[in-house]
Amino acid sequence: MELFQWFCMGILFVLSVAALSYLSVVVKLKWYTLASLALGAFLILFGIGWAGASFLEGIAQSGALALILFCGSGVVLMTLTWRFLVAPELSKQSD
């Protein structure tokens, strides 16, 4: 089960890197926008890894809190970055 978790994390990692690269190609992004998105993705992956391990060890409370704290802050960071830094660039480009 643990190996399966790491395998899934690997896929998610590759998808995240590809998604960020794609975004950087199609939209003109400042370096800190990319860094912020990368940090958000890292936090989400970290939270998933932590939660997976916690559920495997049978401490569900740790898993739930990891999802809230790490994944939650990752999602918030990515959402804010998208809303304030990526979306304006996108609309600028489509004008």
Partner: protein, 505 residues
């Protein structure tokens, strides 16, 4: 430095999304990228992914490096003015098991009862402990829990070494008899090979960690005391040889069983741990004697186990009085083998920032049902060369502590008193410890970043431990959960459930 990716020509890609006039249409793929943009995408994916992987690998390497620990220059800190060798008769477990010592020092029991407002009988304690009736409606205190408790300790009793837990020297498993020492001595090529061989053997005998320290008078009980005959024993005249090295081995205890503390259930794994100590120490001693060297094994007897384990580089001394071994925490038992074999690479004390962490943590003290462990808010945080717990300035009250060593001092008399009231060994300070974790990567990560993390963060980390669902004690649900953890044991696909180590051989 530019704030933009200068090579990012977003327009390049964007242009492709719109039909270019004049019939100069470039081909785009399913992602809407033409050839140059696709190349850029693939390059960035490879470079970005590679950089991220390199970062992760560096982080992993740093954590792996950190959990090896750093050599500690500070251990031991001794105040020579007050330090003297520890008389075995002044250890609670020996005192409580000797009618003769109780008759010699009635003032100890009297003072304890007067100050603590108790009617406790030290010498009757162990007899009363297991006589407490079970209650099948109380999880953790049922007949089945009592049975686990008795079964855990049983082999040690059968072997005649049950009292080694109370520091009785020279019991059958830890015999001083050297009549089977081989005449021919096996010679190792070099010291490292000898150390490696001893540690390989230790793993076969069931040790989860093993280190080798020089024999050190400061940690040996002196004089030793035979509880059966009420006789003092001398290292020079009674011990069968002059020891030079002490091999220290750690025996793991079951995570889910310890988690039930202070219920009787937990005593099952403590008893099983003591039994394993007896067996593996005996095996190691025999291994050395069969190679032609003198060796005597020991459980709690002969010397103080925690400082020897620290000297052997296995962990650090903690607030709860135990050794905290990285990746296993305090969930271990310590056994030792004294030998005259000294052609070995000795281990050195190491630090992982654990003692430092204890200064701001105190979760064990909060969990202790006997209030035997000092809190960080107590005088000196309970850390110093002498005890500072309640009544420690009453003359003679700290008779059981080994003064003059910088460490956390707890009141073992109150601890023992609670065991008797509880009807079994407690260990809530082990179960609640911030370093008592199962074997998963995120705990290794936390251990790895501990030495580098600033002190104020330690208190926060200690608070987060219970918030994340770890370390709760006195919880009947834990006993109920424990009795279901056998599910899946036919296959047992992980092995983490019964060892709890880092999976390193």
């Amino acid at each position: 430095m530019s704030n933009e990716h200068d090579d990012t020509k977003a327009g390049d890609a964007n242009d492709q999304l719109e039909p270019a006039g004049g019939g100069d249409r470039r081909e785009v793929d399913a992602l809407g990228l033409d050839n140059p943009a696709r190349r850029k995408f693939l390059t960035r994916t490879a470079v970005g992914g590679g950089a991220a992987l390199a970062g992760l690998a560096a982080g992993y390497g740093a954590i792996e490096y950190s959990v090896q620990g750093r050599p500690s220059k500070n251990y031991p800190e001794i105040d020579e003015a007050i330090f003297k060798p520890k008389d075995q008769r002044d250890v609670v477990l020996t005192f409580a098991n000797s009618k003769a010592l109780n008759e010699k020092h009635p003032e100890r029991n009297e003072q304890y009862n007067r100050l603590q407002k108790k009617e406790f009988d030290f010498v009757a304690g162990f007899r009363d402990m297991y006589a407490k009736p079970w209650d099948n409606n109380k999880p953790g205190y049922t007949q089945m829990d009592r049975a686990l408790q008795l079964a855990g300790w049983h082999p040690l009793g059968v072997a005649g070494s049950r009292k080694s837990a109370n520091l009785q020297p020279n019991t059958p498993l830890h015999s001083w008899d050297q009549s089977d020492v081989e005449e021919e001595q096996y010679k190792f090529d070099d010291k490292q090979a000898a150390s490696d061989a001893i540690k390989s053997a230790a793993r076969v005998f069931g040790a989860v960690k093993c280190g080798i320290a020089r024999q050190d008078k400061r940690w040996d009980y002196d004089p030793l005391y035979d509880l059966e005959t009420n006789q003092e024993l001398s290292w020079e005249e009674d011990f069968p040889f002059k020891p030079k090295s002490v091999i220290v081995m750690l025996t793991p205890q079951d995570y889910d069983c310890v988690a039930t503390a202070p219920a009787w259930t937990a005593d099952g794994t403590y008893g099983a741990g003591y039994t394993q100590m007896g067996i593996q120490a005996d095996q190691m001693a025999k291994f050395l004697r069969a190679m032609g060297y003198h060796a005597v094994s020991a459980g709690n007897d002969l010397g103080s186990s925690v400082p020897y384990a620290i000297m052997a580089g296995l962990g650090e001394g903690a607030r709860n009085g135990t050794l905290i071994a990285p990746l296993v925490g305090p969930r271990i038992r310590i056994c030792k083998v004294y030998t005259d074999f000294d052609f070995v690479e000795y281990d050195q004390p190491h630090t992982w920032g654990i003692t430092d962490f204890c200064l701001s943590c105190g979760k064990c003290a909060e969990a202790c049902p006997a209030d035997a462990i000092p809190l960080p808010s107590d005088k000196n945080g309970g850390y110093g060369f002498e005890p500072s717990y309640e009544f420690s300035d009453e003359p003679g009250y700290t008779w059981n502590n080994h003064h003059g060593i910088k460490k956390f001092y707890s009141d073992a008399k109150k601890c023992y008193n609670f065991w008797v009231e509880n009807g079994g060994g407690c260990g809530a300070c082990i179960a609640s410890c911030t370093f008592n974790e199962p074997d998963f990567w995120h705990h290794k990560f936390i251990l790895g970043i501990t030495p580098a993390s600033p002190k104020p963060l330690h208190a926060l980390m200690a608070q987060m431990h219970p918030a994340f669902g770890y370390g709760h004690t006195n919880d009947p649900a834990k006993a109920e959960k424990f009795w279901k953890t056998g599910e899946g044991m036919r296959v047992n696909s992980s092995m983490k459930n019964n060892i709890g180590t880092s999976n390193k051989s």
